[in-house]
């Protein structure tokens, strides 16, 4: 990745941590594209859906953003998380051997029948307590704002923020290594 990418992404991430939502949305979209490319290159056989890994990586980047040092480059941080989540995805699907990703790509290069599975994240969302689930799905799937969600559910905006935060943390935790 180019130095321009690096500079731009760190700038966006710093702005996001300072509370700039638009910078964060921009950052996440770019990261999603980068990670999608990375994951698709690494996953050659079926069984692991690249988009699941993209989503797990974005969630991990979000809940672990306090581990990024603002004076350190952001791309190595992002790719380290993406690689970890990718290996984890393989592992969770029964390949428990610790191997380099490049070897995985070579060893399992044979095409398998592709299974159209439900997104992993939906299963995690379904496992949330009802209050958190309705907040997370109102904001994500229905695209409502914090204020709209609060009005719709008849709770305060603070309660919505808390439920959203806890819900996302719980989903991320469910994706943790098992």
């Amino acid at each position: 990745m180019s130095g321009k990418d690096e500079a731009e992404l760190s700038r966006l991430m710093r702005a996001a941590i300072a509370g700039d939502e638009r910078a964060y949305a921009d950052f996440l979209h770019r990261i999603a594209a980068l990670v999608r490319g990375f994951v698709r290159r690494k996953i050659v056989q079926g069984g692991v859906d690249p988009e699941d890994v993209v989503q797990e990586t974005l969630l991990a980047i979000h809940v672990k953003r306090h581990t990024w040092r603002q004076d350190a480059p952001v791309l190595p941080w992002i790719y380290a998380i993406a690689r970890f989540k990718l290996i984890d995805a393989f592992r969770r699907r029964g390949r428990r051997i610790e191997i380099e990703i490049d070897e995985i790509a070579e060893t399992f290069a044979e095409p398998e029948t592709e299974t159209v599975s439900e997104r992993d994240i939906n299963r995690a969302l379904d496992g949330l307590p009802p209050a958190q689930r309705s907040v997370v799905s109102a904001i994500s799937v229905d695209g409502r704002s914090i204020g709209e969600t609060a009005a719709k559910l008849g709770v305060s905006e603070t309660a919505v923020r808390v439920s959203l935060h806890r819900g996302l943390a719980a989903i991320a935790k469910r994706f943790g290594r098992q």
Partner: protein, 212 residues
């Protein structure tokens, strides 16, 4: 849920704050020192002749080994808990404490006549050493494993083992103030074993507790 939807949810949650990992590590270190100190002073405490012992090289050398171990392990574990951080230099520094012990053992073998070697190595405290270093270190180890969970170690088992070495270095620093066996031969044998117990526990903790 499409990735687009997820991004909307993450974006709405940007205002949630968490303490930067670096500051959290310093707080954890302070908490671990306090926990170790409390356990140490409530149980065995320092040896009565500590003021006299402080004038002997062998007694002081013990603290050099254990403090160097703790400091180097602290450097490494902070790097290990940060994704993408380079760990090579911090890992190389981990050789410092074993090297210092090796030099001290060589000097001891040179200075002490051979018939006394085994007495020095066995000492009089090995069971206390084997019991109390893990006992003093277990609280700090729990703190450090919790910190690994708060961080994002991409090698959780290795990071857990280093958490054990860090807890071991800290616990051994306190324990050294109690122990009457100051010979590097004793330290190289029993301290190492006791710290290895904590490193093993740490690796297990890394495997089963540190998930993210």
């Amino acid at each position: 849920m499409r990735t687009e939807d997820l991004i909307r949810a993450l974006d709405a949650d940007i205002s949630s704050k968490a303490m930067p990992l670096r500051s959290a590590w310093w707080m954890a270190a302070a908490a671990a020192v306090v926990i170790a100190a409390v356990v140490f002073f409530l149980t065995i405490g320092p040896r009565p002749d500590i003021m006299i012992a402080m004038h002997t090289m062998r007694f002081l050398a013990k603290f050099v080994f254990t403090i160097v171990l703790a400091i180097t392990a602290f450097g490494l574990i902070r790097a290990l808990s940060t994704p993408g951080a380079s760990t090579a230099r911090a890992a190389a520094w981990m050789a410092a404490a074993p090297l210092l012990v090796a030099v001290a053992v060589a000097l001891e073998l040179f200075m002490v006549p051979e018939p006394m070697w085994s007495t020095r190595m066995v000492g009089s405290n090995m069971m206390i050493c084997m019991g109390f270093i893990p006992l003093i270190g277990i609280g700090p180890l729990a703190v450090f494993l919790w910190m690994l969970r708060y961080g994002a170690p991409t090698r959780p088992v290795f990071a857990g083992a280093v958490a054990g070495l860090l807890a071991g270095g800290l616990a051994a620093t306190f324990y050294a103030a109690h122990c009457f066996d100051d010979s590097p031969l004793f330290v190289a044998t029993w301290y190492t074993l006791a710290i290895a117990v904590l490193a093993g526990l740490g690796a297990l903790g890394g495997r089963f507790f540190v998930r993210w």
